[in-house]
Amino acid sequence: MSATASAPKTDTPVTTVKSVPTGKKKPSSDRKKKSRFVYNGIGVVAFVVMIFPVYWLVVSALRPNKEIRSYDQTLWPSSFTFDNFARAIDYENFGTAIKSSLIVSFTAVVGAMIMATVAAYAIGRFRFYGRRAFMIVLILVQLLPPTAMLIPIYLQLNDFGALNEYWGVIVIYLVSTLPFATWMIRGFVINIPKELEESAMVDGCTQMGAFWRIIFPLLAPGLAAASIYSLINAWNEYLLAYIVLQDNDKFTLNVWLTNFTTARGVDYGALMAASTMIAIPVVIFFMFIQKKMATGLTSGAVKG
């Protein structure tokens, strides 16, 4: 807020803008062109640096294995092959890993969405004692360092007898995405005019009916965004899964990835292929919500 306060100070010379002699404009726009050229150049360099690891991931996955084990890595592979993918899929437990990942992330997200929608509706529509405290807790919980929570949560799951069980991981994923999802959906609740609900209630709807018939359909885009975000988080999580799930056939995809590192070395071709397969759904989903993420993260919806 101090920003807007200090802004008016510099506001005074605005009038001079109009009186700038037009003759002066030319050299400056010339210089602008030149500097734009420079900025574009740096932009291309930044583009290459940012995209290269992604490019290398995909290219390595599609490269014949003999080219991967070569001292002469070429920018473009001599031929494309799906051998690496085939090898990755043939790896032990690929099927069960997909199953685990799907079970864990979808169950967690569905549960989180139900609880988050209800809570978001409460804090978005009602004013009640303790509401602000509740909202602050939602933020603080997201700021808890996950590495520090690892041991407390592990011990808690041990108490519940949830170690090496899907439901242990599901509960943790569910609750970890809950604060973010609640906060995000609340943003959508606030933007739905109250009058819609009220007129439904005047027409004889109960509060519950008004919610289901009027609010819920309008919340759909928000729910979609929040669930995609939660899904990505659950899909990407590995630390907790790594510690809690001990049976090979319960590993989620991310934990399964560690299989490619053996004492004899790393099968990079298969690792890159497997990584590509894990990343593709995330990348696709991410495209839908990236705009909302950038704004959401700075307004209380902190990445979990």
């Binding site: 920003a3 900025y39 291309v44 940012m50 009602f126 590495t147 995330v282 902190v302």
Partner: protein, 339 residues
């Protein structure tokens, strides 16, 4: 708690003084007579409804975050080893012994320093590069901006686990493209160079993953903030003879400052948690030089089977970062986000 203080801080210019608050309050009054038509019991029900709605979330948060934290606190004053953990036998109370033992352990301080230095370098690098990219994005042609936005989003969407795998592959001693480029194209002798033997070089690679992975969020968020800076202000300052740096310092930065602070705080918290990246890039058993604080706690708990020490370290970590968390919260309250 501190939450109560927070509530008062922005109290002066009530963040709810805006019209949304008015809009929010009015219907609440409208609802009430309607529901109370049935009698006192139903009005009561209406008042309890919001509590009913947040109850599942409150219970979940209590069970998964708050209660474990309380138990961690209790445990760190006991001596819980393997037998106590698995058989449920009562653990002896040891007072501050775990804390004195940890604080007296030089390995603990090594890991704290390592974590903080690493975090600071990563945060500064991320913010500098991210801000740089955001500023350039503002000034480049549309095609270039489109290209770089695409690259940023692509990098952003790559899962952490996959990011670490990619960078491990890039820095592989035999077939990694990094060594190849350094040797063949830049003339250094990096053939077969192992980046992990020296932990400083190892952390260079880990830092590269962290920074590379964090830049997209910073750049895109700051770019969004920069578009809010009125063009007239910058132009006016330029005409008044303010140079580019002064313009940034006195015109642009004050406008984007709240967002910048927020991004910085989040970066601090995220980069403090590098445990995962170290783990992934060094296999399941990292060398002692790579022992960041999360790893130190983990080893104490699971390798030495002293769960109380692991708990105590976790508690110390939470306390270390709570200052940053409160700062972030204050920023949010100041902006009026928590209305």
């Amino acid at each position: 708690m501190s939450a109560a203080d927070m509530l008062k801080t922005p109290g002066g210019p009530d963040p709810q003084a805006s019209d949304t608050a008015v809009a929010d309050k009015r219907p609440a009054e409208v609802h009430e007579p309607k529901t109370s038509g049935g009698g006192g019991r139903r009005r009561n029900k209406g008042a309890l409804l919001p509590y009913f709605l947040i109850a599942p979330t409150v219970v979940a948060i209590l069970a998964v975050f708050v209660w474990p934290l309380i138990k961690t606190t209790i445990m760190s004053f006991q001596d819980v080893g393997r037998t106590e953990l698995w058989t449920g036998a009562p653990a002896p109370w040891v007072g501050f012994e775990q804390f004195t033992e940890i604080l007296g352990d030089s390995a603990f301080w090594d890991s704290v320093v390592l974590t903080i230095v690493f975090m600071a370098i990563c945060v500064v690098a991320t913010l500098a590069i991210g801000l740089g990219i955001a500023l350039m994005m503002q000034r480049m042609s549309d095609w270039a901006r489109l290209m770089i936005t695409g690259a940023l989003i692509a990098a952003w969407s790559i899962p952490l686990m996959v990011q670490a795998s990619i960078f491990r592959w890039l820095s592989d001693s035999d077939y990694g493209v990094l060594n190849m480029v350094l040797t063949k194209h830049l003339g250094f002798d990096f053939q077969g160079h192992n980046w992990w033997l020296d932990y400083k070089q190892g952390f260079l690679i880990i830092g590269a993953v962290v920074v590379w992975g964090a830049i997209p969020f910073v750049a895109i968020t700051l770019y969004a903030a920069l578009t809010q800076v009125p063009k007239e202000l910058e132009e006016a300052a330029a005409i008044d003879g303010v140079n580019a740096f002064g313009n940034f310092r006195y015109v642009t930065f004050p406008v984007i400052k709240p967002v910048f602070q927020m991004v910085a705080t989040l970066s601090v918290i995220w980069d403090f948690n590098v445990l995962g990246q170290v783990w992934l890039m060094r296999g399941s058993k990292p060398e002692p030089e790579y022992e960041v604080i999360g790893l130190y706690a983990f080893n104490k708990a699971f390798e030495s089977n002293s769960f109380s020490q692991g708990a105590a370290i976790s508690l110390i970590t939470v306390l270390l970062l709570s200052g940053v968390a409160v700062y972030y919260l204050r920023q949010l309250l100041k902006i009026g986000e928590v209305d």
